[in-house]
Structure formats: structure tokens, C-alpha cells
Amino acid sequence: MTAEQKKSKFKEGSFLELLNYKDLLYQLVARDIKLKYRRSFLGYVWSVLNPLLIMIIMSIVFTMLFTKKTELFPIYLMCGRTVFEFIKTATDKALGSITDNASLLKKTYVSKFMFPMSKITASMVDFVFSLGALVILIVVYSFKYHRALFSFWNFGIVIVIIEAYIFAMGLGFLLAALNVFFRDIKYIYHAVTTMWIYCSAIFYNMGSFYDKGAKQLKAGGTPYALYLAKLIEYFNPAYIYIKQFRAFVWAPVCRKGLESWAYVHPTDFALGFGYAFLMFFIGVFAFRKSQDKFILYI
């Protein structure tokens, strides 16, 4: 232990204590990524192929199913799926991170924030890798339509990744702490994520809600569909991030004028960051308050 580590500026048990363990975070993230791709036959190819295959199946099914067409549907679908998949896998892995490392926590002192944090960071890196699938898809479609489907707006996704990363951290800390005390949180959370997918407009678009709402209004009834749309747009952080992601990737290359639901306003970013930080503070607070009791339950 070097002199610098002795004079740690950060309070034991606080979130910022992680800064004393920067190298450990790096090691753990590198381990997760290395082990994922080591000695697997297809390695990285698989993590690109998998989303592409799912996208192809879903595109075929849903373009046949829905009457309301979405322009460039495969790209639209892939945007939603990648973002949601990140939030889902990151939080899901963070959930079990404390209980999985029980043996380590019983033997050495490490900032406990480290474990969910490393899982979420590894998932984030994975997410960036899997964007390769989206790039391939866009290249294919660029050839198909004889125009470049890339735009300088694409770089904006960095903002979305930051928002989703902070949000996933908060949710991950909360779930990891809960899972120590109640092991069935895992099953409950799986059920919740399944519902969450259907509420996040991944394979349908919000336009159908607005059309239905307008119809309901015309018929003189209460526009429930409209309320539902507002509910998703304002209270589902996952949809807020998906919408922004699409605004940077899918919307700029659409030709047939966008409907109002696809436009992103500055307020959307305020809302996205708002939810991210709210979730982050809730998660860190819950984790800090309960971390001293972890050892008694693992």
C-alpha cells in the first residue's frame, strides 16, 4: 500500500471511494469482456450477429402485422432494441453482483459499489461493441436505397449513452442492494422487464396511439390512447432514451417528413438527465444505507 492510498480523500463507504479503486474497476471490466469473448468460437462476430438475426425476424413479423408503416423499420427497430437491451442486461447483471461476489466480500475490504459498477460498465462497453450490428445494417440499407444513411447527427448518441449509463447505475445499485436481502427480486425484476419492453415502443411507433386517440376524441369519448402515449413519453425513462437515440440515428435519414411524436425537444434531454440523476441518487442512497448489513446476509 502506497502513501497515496493511505491518505485517501474519500470517505469509507461513499460512492466516490470508487476513485481509490480506479485500477480495480478497469481490471474487473477487462475481465468481464475478456472472458466473454475468450475461447468462444464466434466471439465478437456473435455479439453482432445475434442482434442482426433477431432484427431480421422481428422486421419480417412486424412489417406484416402492422398496418401503420414506419419508414426504415429495421433501423427504427434496431435502435430501440439496442438501447433497451443495454438497460436490461446492465441492470440484470448488476442485480446479482453483490451476492455473486460473497466469498470475496467476506475476505477483503473493497468498496462495495465496485461490483455493480463494474458490471454496468462492462455492459456499456459491450453495448458500444454491439453498435457494430447497427452500422452493418445502415451500410446495407445505404446500398439498397442508393443514399448514405449516415449523418453527423449520429455522434449525438454519446449523450444518450451517458444518460442511459447513469440511469442504469442508479437502478443497478438499488437492485443489487435489494437482492442481498430478498433473493426473489431477480424473478420479480425479470417479470417487470418483460412488461417494460412492451411499454417502450420498440417494435411499434407512438403514431398509432395518437391516431387512436384522435379517433376516440372524434367519437366524443375520452382519449385513453392519448393518455397512454403521454404516460409512456413522460414516465418511461427507457422510452425517453430510445426516442433520443432514434432522433440521432433514424430520424435524420427519414425522407417522408416526421410525425410530431418523433421530434425531440430540449425538454426531452432535461427529462432524460432528470430521470438518470434521480435514479442515480436513489440507488446510491439505498446502497450506502444498507451496505454495512450485506455481510450478514450473503
Binding site: T2, E12, Q27, F182, D184
Partner: protein
């Protein structure tokens, strides 16, 4: 800074000894409704105080379940005391169980970095000492082998080498040296003696009184979470040994008594049988 390097002040550690651990929501609510949420208190340590000055070597002795490991865990920050306080002024290397952070899927090389980081060293720091660690562990030929293929002795060699790569202010050792071959054990002892000579403070748990006497100058005797004696090792070790001998003797006596009773009963039964035969 106080004059003590480790100051354990009136520490009490509490565990929940409930007959069944409630670890899921369903059970929690069922018990909540039935008013069966119990908390059975179990005190692993009770009002334990231990003040160690820099450079001292302390042996912690006691029978199984007396709270030795719990005390070491409190000092190395793994457990938080329920009451009382622990102040440690210096860096701690705790060898509570060797290879705490070893990931069996990674190679030895990767594990050295990972484990070093878990112990709080920076990557650069480990890099500088990498050769030294490898040399001490004698694992040069297995650097790129996944640790899952290692024997337990090899694993503990790896763990010990990483944990002692640098001179800590306080070294905590908990019966970890029982694995590994004689040569390596000797090497570890030498390394520990070397550290002691350099002024490292040692906290040592062992059931082997001779090793304790060899390594340490002070001792703390725990029994069922309470301090029985603490002070110079000679007196305590003798007292401890006599108590143990006494207990052994008692047990032996009890055993003898029991055996006698059994013999008596057997005799009685035989006599009864004989009587019956005669009557017939």
C-alpha cells in the same frame, strides 16, 4: 495520531442467529403478517478491547468459535462493529483466506493484477513488482495457465505472494499457512519474520502454540467472544495450555466414568442372566 497502531475499543459484534434465514420477499411478508419476524441475537464478540503499539506481534488464541476470526475481520474492515470502535493507523494486509479474489477462469498473470488491485494497489505498482511476485510464488512455468487447473498449494502460493508483495504496517494472518509444502511454509515464515524485523505489526491466529510463541510477543485469549486474558505471551500461553490440558483431563475422566458405568451395567445384566439360568 495516538500511540496505538490498532485500537479496538470495547467492540461488540452482533449476528442474527434466527433459526431460518429469511432471504426472499414472499417469506418476509408471510412472516410479517404472522408476526414471526424474529431476531435472535448472537454476540460473536463482547466488549473486546485490544490496543496494539507499532512493532508488536500479537497472537490471538482460543478454541474454535471463540471469535478469533471475527476480531480479525473487524480489524480489516470487513465487518462493522455493532458497538464500540476500531481505529487503525496504517495500511493493513490481511491474509484471512489466501486467494480471496482469485478468479479460476483467468490465468495466473491476470490474477496477479486483479488480486493486486483488489488489495488496493495500483496497476503500475503491481507491474513494478511483478517479477518479484512470480519469483516468490515459484510459478514461472504456469503464468499463462488458467488458475482453475492449479492445485490448492499453487493457489495459496499465488495468494501469499501477491498479498505480501509490499511491507504493510499491519499484517493479519489467519491460519492460512496450513496448506502448501514444508519448504514453502518455511519460506512464508521467513518472509513474515523478515517483515517483523522491519517493524511490521503482526496479528496472528494459530492453534499451534509453538509457532505462536516463536512469532509473537503478546497474546489475546478469547473464549466465547469474551477476553479471558491479554498481555505477554509466555504467561498466557502457559495458562491456556494448562486450561486445555485440564479440560482434556476432565473429558478423559468423564469418559472413564462413563465407561465404568457401562461396564457395571453389563456386569449386572450378565449376573441377572446367570441367575435366571440357575433358577431354571
Amino acid at each position: 495520531m495516538s500511540e496505538y497502531i490498532v485500537d479496538v475499543d470495547n467492540v461488540t459484534v452482533r449476528f442474527n442467529k434466527a433459526s431460518e434465514n429469511i432471504d426472499n420477499l414472499k417469506e418476509y411478508f408471510v412472516k410479517l403478517v404472522k408476526h414471526e419476524l424474529m431476531f435472535k441475537e448472537f454476540l460473536a464478540l463482547q466488549n473486546v478491547s485490544l490496543k496494539i503499539k507499532p512493532g508488536e506481534a500479537w497472537a490471538i488464541i482460543g478454541t474454535n468459535g471463540s471469535g478469533k476470526s471475527t476480531l480479525l475481520k473487524v480489524i480489516s474492515r470487513i465487518l462493522k462493529p455493532y458497538k464500540g470502535s476500531v481505529t487503525v493507523n496504517g495500511s493493513v494486509a490481511s491474509l484471512i483466506e489466501l486467494g480471496a479474489g482469485i478468479d479460476p477462469k483467468l490465468t495466473a498473470r491476470e490474477n496477479i493484477y486483479l488480486n493486486g488491485c483488489i488489495l488496493g494497489y495500483s496497476k503500475k505498482f503491481v507491474e513494478e513488482r511483478f517479477d518479484e511476485i512470480v519469483e516468490f510464488s515459484e510459478l514461472e512455468d504456469f503464468l499463462d495457465t488458467p488458475v482453475k487447473n492449479f492445485s490448492s498449494g499453487m493457489k495459496s502460493r499465488l495468494g501469499f505472494s501477491v498479498a505480501t508483495m509490499v511491507k504493510p504496517d499491519i499484517l493479519i494472518v489467519d491460519e492460512v499457512l496450513s496448506v502448501g509444502d514444508v519448504l514453502f511454509r518455511k519460506k512464508c515464515m521467513n518472509k513474515m519474520n523478515e517483515m517483523l524485523a522491519d517493524g511490521t505489526t503482526l496479528l496472528f491466529v494459530s492453534h499451534n502454540m509453538d509457532t505462536c510463541k516463536n512469532m509473537c510477543d503478546h497474546a489475546l485469549w478469547l473464549n466465547k467472544g469474551e477476553v479471558v486474558m491479554s498481555g505477554e505471551i509466555e504467561a498466557i500461553a502457559d495458562e491456556y495450555m494448562t486450561t486445555i490440558e485440564e479440560r482434556k483431563a476432565k473429558e478423559k475422566a468423564a469418559k472413564k466414568k462413563k465407561q465404568k458405568e457401562l461396564d457395571k451395567k453389563a456386569k449386572e445384566i450378565e449376573e441377572k442372566k446367570k441367575k435366571k439360568k440357575l433358577e431354571q
